[in-house]
Amino acid sequence: MSDIDLDQRPANNRSAVLKSRLTSWDSIILVLTVLVLIIASFTVDNFGTSRNFTFMVLDLLPIILIALPMTMIIVTGEIDLSVASTLGLTSSMMGWLWNQGLSIESIIPLCIVIGAICGVVNGFLITGLGLPSLAVTIGTLALYRGLAFVVLGDGAVADFPWNYTGWVTGTIGDGAVPNVLILIVVLALIFGIVQHATPFGRSLYAIGANAQAAHFSGIRVARTKFWLYVASGAVAGLVGVLWTLRYSSARADNGAGLELAVVAAVLLGGVSIFGGKGSLPGVLGGVVLLTALQNALRLEDVSGQALNIVTGSLLVLSVLLPNVTSAVRGNWHRRKLRQASATSAQ
């Protein structure tokens, strides 16, 4: 029975709706993000500069892009741990194809297709054969990374054309707005609209919360999940391209370990790992919060190890705090009721 702990049903009026919306985790995280940005700009030297802004955008680029489809996947109650390896494989393939003499204009779409194929394999294993996604993507995590090494071995390919590598690291008209920010905004808008304002997006939540009921409602559960994995693979492929261009280096080990960072960011954004809950704005806030905080702390010479502790604590606190406050509020409410009935009895 899922309603055991539903004691805190919000009050039935307009201000309560507003209150519950304001205290929902994604609004808290958005407020927190803005707060961190403002405080850091005033207190941390060099944080508020336009160059640092560019650096930050470049740092969060891979996480934020991969988080877009990952959010949907986690909302349906599944997970994709193979994204970083898909990224590595496309990066390798990009280097290999470049060495073969293909033009960069044809390599980029090809790489996205390769990423999508990785997603097709995941999707088939998970929805076609009905295997658990955590297990499957741990397997393909190893498989794709391994294939990346098979393709490019220990080498690195570095001589990508300057106009492409420069575009990824550059800014619009050499101003303060990085080129890739447009890409982030466009993709985030597309994914946001699909997730929150289309029948497809609605069905994701139903699938995550109760796949059987979704099936009974005419939602094609397997097919929906399948396409999510394809999207996840394609985006990972795109990020593989961007990653390669940003560092002008195609290597088999590119992006290793990124999957945990992405999952952490998505969870920090208030998406439930059990599916059925979460919003994209929250996730975007989560990613920005994490990156901004790390950037600021690094500028303050906080060591990498301490950053680990900060990241971990943030992750745990992000879910812990709302729970604790609501529990405290519930207790207080009950005590008030009891007191009221005690005084009225006298």
């Binding site: 029975m1 899922s2 309603d3 055991i4 539903l6 004691d7 805190q8 049903r9 919000p10 009050a11 039935n12 009026n13 709706v17 609209i193 304002a197 289309t198 029948p199 997006g201 609605r202 069905s203 939540y205 139903a206 919360a209 109760n210 059987q212 009921a213 979704a214 099936h215 009974f216 409602s217 005419g218 939602i219 094609r220 059925g276 809950k277 009950r334 009721l337 009891r338 009935s341």
Partner: protein, 503 residues
């Protein structure tokens, strides 16, 4: 029967419980005496299950007290209630799908060997004993996963019996059972009662209450209305006090001239589940599928709707053959299925009421492929109101509704799609009398407007009252087709059991 002045085994004293702004229970008091069966009745959402959960230690009363043998108790959790000798059968089965049926029954007090290891032999023997007592042909070593709702309910009952409790609380244990199982259950409960246990029984079927219980507590809108001896009240009295008004005829079946054939099922088979099922349904007709629990009625209709696959046979809607295994194709052809298990199949508990109602129709409600809250809210508003659903806000999670109101949301969800063929599986399971009449009237008038209806039901009065034709399934095959005129309780039961019975 217990003496009126005997000390109550368990007492609910002036308890109140609210969920946010919803006052589910307000100042209710009643006693449970040893050796007596006590009924708790009320409309959907009256607060019956909430009281059960307080007695079970799931919820803590906001105010008021519970007393066991005269002493105040404060249950911190279900374990405490269990320790106080209270066994509970919840409204929704709560089994462990991965554990064997025997383990499910024994969990918490498994028999132990001398090394404090679990004595599996003894455990299985226990389960077998209980099943024999209940007359259930279940294999104790099979996992609970895949049991039908009815079988799950039976395991729940066995579980409660095995606890050898001094207080047995049953929240609609019979909702999924057919007459035979109910009778067996009552026999067991009566013997428990005679051994001195206090019984609390919740049901929306009044014939069950008069058959089993000595005392009844009536609730309305969370408030206590009356606690009286059943013998002193007529069924109509009970209903009047519970609903607060008089009710009209229970089964207002309108006679309709059937139209063209809407659904044609021909030779449908699925290995191990059902075989060679053929029937057809015309517009305006209500066809009932009767049979014992486990006869495969739900499976047949799920295969017709496409949520389950089938091996051979055809399904035609309006003469056009329907692609198998695709609920979406079925919906496009104008079919709707109200499933039997609302928690697993009917609703997404975490989602809001409006989202649930519009789930199958999201695509139709979208403008330019986009959905904005307004249209969804309107559609949900219309249908939940039509079905008199008791709810707070449409944006509340559907899981916060009472069982019967959840059932209404499922109905609303499918009626909102405007189907030509409506399949309803146990449509009134857990629905109170008032609403049940409402649902029946609704089905009847929809049929009058040309809707073809297939109704799977374990409630014989409902089947007899509503159906134009009755198909009786036995062990996955059609055992008999009866017209409204031919059908009597005896003839249906005879076909269902394949032998002479006296019900």
């Amino acid at each position: 029967m217990a003496e009126a002045n005997a000390r109550p085994r368990l007492e609910v004293h002036d308890v109140t419980k609210s969920f946010g702004a919803v006052a589910a229970v307000q100042g209710v008091s009643f006693p449970l005496y040893p050796g007596e069966a006590h009924a708790l009745v009320g409309e959907n959402g009256a607060g019956k299950s909430t009281i059960v959960k307080m007695l079970a230690g799931v919820h803590r009363p906001d105010t008021g007290t519970l007393r066991v043998d005269g002493a105040d108790v404060d249950f911190a959790g279900p374990a405490d209630a269990k320790a106080a000798g209270i066994a509970v059968i919840y409204q929704e089965p709560t089994l462990f799908p991965d554990l064997s049926v025997a383990e499910n029954i024994a969990i918490g007090n498994q028999p132990l060997t001398r090394l404090r290891q679990i004595d599996r032999k003894e455990m299985t023997a226990n389960a077998e004993r209980l099943f024999r007592r209940l007359g259930v042909p279940l294999d104790p070593s099979r996992p609970a996963r895949g049991l039908s709702i009815a079988d799950q309910q039976l395991v729940e009952i066995a579980k409660a019996l095995s606890a050898e409790a001094r207080v047995l609380i049953m929240d609609e244990p019979t909702a999924a059972l057919s007459a035979v199982e109910v009778e067996r259950l009552f026999a067991v409960v009566r013997s428990l009662r005679d051994e001195g246990a206090a019984i609390m029984f919740i049901s929306h079927r009044f014939e069950e209450i008069t058959a089993l219980c000595e005392r009844v507590t009536i609730m309305r809108d969370g408030k206590h209305v009356a606690t009286e001896l059943v013998a002193d009240l007529s069924v109509d009295d009970m209903i009047r006090r519970m609903v607060g008004r008089d009710l009209s005829a229970l089964f207002p079946k309108q006679d309709v001239e059937p139209g063209e054939v809407v659904l044609e099922v021909d030779g449908l088979s699925r290995e191990g589940v059902f075989k060679d099922i053929s029937f057809s349904v015309r517009a305006g007709e209500i066809v009932a599928l009767a049979g014992l629990v486990g006869a495969g009625r739900s499976e047949v209709m799920q295969a017709v709707f496409g949520v389950d696959p089938y091996d051979s046979g055809t399904v035609k809607v309006h003469g056009r053959r329907l692609k198998g295994g695709s609920p979406r194709a079925a919906m496009a052809a104008g079919m709707a299925l109200v499933p039997e298990d609302r928690r697993q199949q009917g609703l997404v508990m975490e989602l809001s009421i409006e989202r649930n109602v519009t789930l199958p129709r999201a695509r139709k409600l979208a403008r330019l492929g986009l959905l904005f809250g307004g249209t969804e809210r309107e559609a949900a508003e219309t249908w939940t109101r039509k079905l008199q659903t008791k709810l707070g806000r449409l944006t509340d999670a559907v899981g916060t509704l009472s069982g019967g109101n959840q059932q209404k949301v499922v109905l609303a969800k499918w009626l909102a799609t405007g189907p030509k063929l409506l399949i309803v599986d146990e449509p009134t399971r857990g629905i109170d009398v008032g609403t049940k009449a409402e649902v029946h009237r609704l089905m009847s008038s929809l049929a009058a407007d040309g809707l073809a209806v297939v109704m799977v039901s374990s409630e014989l009065p409902e089947v007899l009252g509503m159906a134009d034709r009755i198909l009786v399934l036995r062990e996955g095959r059609i055992a008999a087709q009866l017209t409204r005129a031919e059908a009597t309780e005896e003839s249906v039961m005879y076909a269902a059991m394949g032998q002479e019975v006296s019900v």
